[in-house]
C-alpha cells in the first residue's frame, strides 16, 4: 500500500512512490540520503529530526511521508548556498554551540525558522523556542549566545 507524491527538497523536485507507513525522516534519510535529519527520541520530543516544511519546523519522525505532498522541504543540507554558510550556521560555529553535533542540525533549522518569524527575539522567546530541542551535551549557554549572534548577523545582512 503506497502513495505517489511530489514535493520539493532543498530546491529539487521529487516524484516518488512511498509506502504509506514510511515516515518523512526515513524518506529523507534512506531514500534521499539526507542524513542530516537525525532521529533521536522518535516521538517528536528531542528535536533532532527537525526539518522545515513550508518554512515551519516539523518533526520528521512524527510525520508520514505522504503528508509532505506538494510541500517545500528544507533540510540542513539545503540551508547553505553556493558554499556559504547560513548566518545561523555561522553563528553556531563561531559561538562554539556544537559539541557532539547530534542535535545541531535540528536546532539550526528551528532557529532559522524562529528568526524568520521574529528577527529580534528576547531571551524568553529563544528559550521557549529551544524547549523543542534536547542537547544531551547540555551546552545550552553557547547555544543561546549563537542565537543572539545569528540575530545580529541577520540584522547586518538586512541593513
Amino acid at each position: 500500500m503506497s502513495t505517489q507524491l511530489s514535493f520539493r527538497v532543498n530546491g529539487t523536485m521529487h516524484c516518488l512512490t512511498v509506502a504509506n507507513e514510511l515516515t518523512l525522516a526515513d524518506l529523507l534519510r534512506d531514500q534521499l540520503s539526507l542524513t542530516g535529519c537525525k532521529v533521536g527520541c522518535d516521538q517528536a520530543v528531542c528535536g533532532a529530526c527537525t526539518v522545515l516544511v513550508d518554512g515551519r519546523p516539523v518533526a520528521a519522525c512524527a510525520t508520514f511521508a505522504f503528508m509532505a505532498e506538494a510541500a517545500d522541504i528544507v533540510t540542513i543540507e539545503g540551508l547553505s548556498s553556493t558554499g556559504r554558510l547560513d548566518p545561523v550556521q555561522q553563528a553556531f560555529l563561531e559561538a562554539g554551540a556544537i559539541q557532539c553535533g547530534y542535535c545541531t542540525a535540528g536546532m539550526v533549522l528551528s532557529v532559522h525558522a524562529l528568526l524568520r518569524r521574529c528577527s529580534d527575539p528576547d531571551d524568553a522567546t529563544i528559550r521557549a523556542w529551544l524547549e523543542a530541542h534536547v542537547c544531551r551535551c547540555t551546552g545550552y549557554a553557547a547555544i543561546l549566545d549563537a542565537v543572539r549572534l545569528a540575530a545580529r548577523y541577520l540584522h547586518q545582512e538586512a541593513a
Binding site: 500500500m1 507507513e21 517528536a44 528535536g47 515551519r56 523543542a132
Partner: protein, 286 residues
C-alpha cells in the same frame, strides 16, 4: 538480546484514504475492518510505532471546514483540525476569548504547535494533554458528526469516551468544539506543577459579576476531571474570597491518583493552593 518495543520500523502497512466530505469520512470509519482518523498525526504515528495494526488511516485534512475558527457573539467554534499554532494566533479567538489565545501560546513546543490539532489532542485521550481540561474549564461543547447528523454534547460527556477513539471504538467524528457566550468566559491556568498536575479555572462573567466557576484538573487522574459551581460574586472580590472558594472547590474534586510523580494527598493539597492563586489572579485581571 535487545528487543525494540517501539519503533517507526514497527508501523504496519495500512491503506490511506483522504475523504473530501464529513459523510465520506464517517462512512470510511464505519466500513468493516479497523481504522483511525489522522489529524496532525503526532499521537497516531506514535501509537502505530508500538506495533498496533489498522487497516485504514483516514486523513481529515481533505475535509473542508474542519480547521476553521469562527467567532460570533453567541458561540466561538474551533474546528477539530485547528492547530495549536492557529488557535494561539487566531485574531477571531483573540477578539472574543483572549485568555485562550494567550494560554495556547505556551502549549507544547513549536514543532508540535504547527502540526498538532485541538481535536487530535483531545481524542488522543492522554491524561497529560491540555486540550481536554482547558475545554472542560470553558464549559465547551463537542460537535459530534455521525451518519445520522451532527449533535452538540457537553465536553464532559466526551471525556469518558476518548480512550476508545484510536482503537476504533467510536463511529462518530469530533468535528469541532463550541464555546458559548465566549466574551463572558475567562480562562486561567497554572501548569507550573507538571507533571504532577495542571489546574484550569474557567469563569463566566457578566457585568463584572462571576456567575459560574469551573475547575478542571489535568495529569492527576486517568482522565481530566472538572467540578463546577454557580456563583454570584463581584469579580473584584475573588481574591478576598479565594481561600474559602479554593477550599470549597478542592473538596469537590475526586481523590487524585498516587503514582511515581506525586501522591494523592500532595495533589489534593496543591489543587487547593493553585486554585487559590488562580482566583487571586482572576480577581486582579477583571
Amino acid at each position: 538480546m535487545l528487543v525494540a518495543l517501539r519503533s517507526r520500523r514497527q508501523i504496519a502497512p495500512f491503506a490511506m484514504h483522504r475523504p473530501t466530505t464529513l459523510a465520506e469520512a464517517i462512512e470510511l470509519r464505519q466500513a468493516p475492518g479497523t481504522s483511525a482518523f489522522l489529524a496532525g498525526g503526532i499521537d497516531l504515528i506514535d501509537w502505530l510505532k508500538h506495533g498496533h495494526a489498522i487497516d485504514r488511516v483516514i486523513r481529515l485534512d481533505g475535509v473542508p471546514g474542519l480547521a476553521d475558527i469562527a467567532a460570533g457573539p453567541n458561540l466561538l467554534r474551533i474546528g477539530a483540525m485547528a492547530t495549536h499554532a492557529a488557535i494561539a494566533d487566531s485574531a477571531a479567538i483573540r477578539s472574543v476569548l483572549p485568555d485562550l489565545a494567550a494560554v495556547w501560546q505556551g502549549i507544547a513546543n513549536p514543532r508540535v504547535r504547527v502540526a498538532g490539532t485541538l481535536g487530535g489532542n483531545v481524542m488522543a485521550g492522554h491524561r497529560d494533554y491540555d486540550g481536554l481540561p482547558a475545554l472542560l474549564a470553558l464549559g465547551a461543547l463537542a460537535e459530534l458528526a455521525a451518519a445520522a447528523g451532527t449533535t452538540l454534547v457537553p465536553i464532559a460527556e466526551l471525556a469518558g469516551a476518548v480512550p476508545a477513539a484510536f482503537a476504533g471504538g467510536t463511529s462518530s467524528l469530533v468535528a469541532g468544539f463550541g464555546i458559548a457566550d465566549p466574551a463572558a468566559q475567562r480562562l486561567h491556568c497554572d501548569r507550573s506543577l507538571r507533571p504532577a498536575l495542571t489546574v484550569w479555572l474557567g469563569l463566566t462573567v457578566a457585568a463584572e459579576r462571576v456567575t459560574a466557576l469551573r475547575l478542571a484538573i489535568g495529569m492527576a487522574y486517568p482522565v481530566p476531571v472538572c467540578v463546577a459551581r454557580p456563583l454570584d460574586m463581584d469579580i473584584a472580590k475573588l481574591g478576598r474570597e479565594s481561600a474559602c472558594l479554593a477550599r470549597a472547590l478542592a473538596e469537590l474534586v475526586p481523590q487524585p491518583v498516587s503514582d511515581g510523580r506525586a501522591t494523592a494527598s500532595y495533589r489534593r493539597r496543591m489543587v487547593e493552593v493553585v486554585t487559590r492563586r488562580l482566583l487571586i489572579r482572576a480577581g486582579g485581571t477583571a
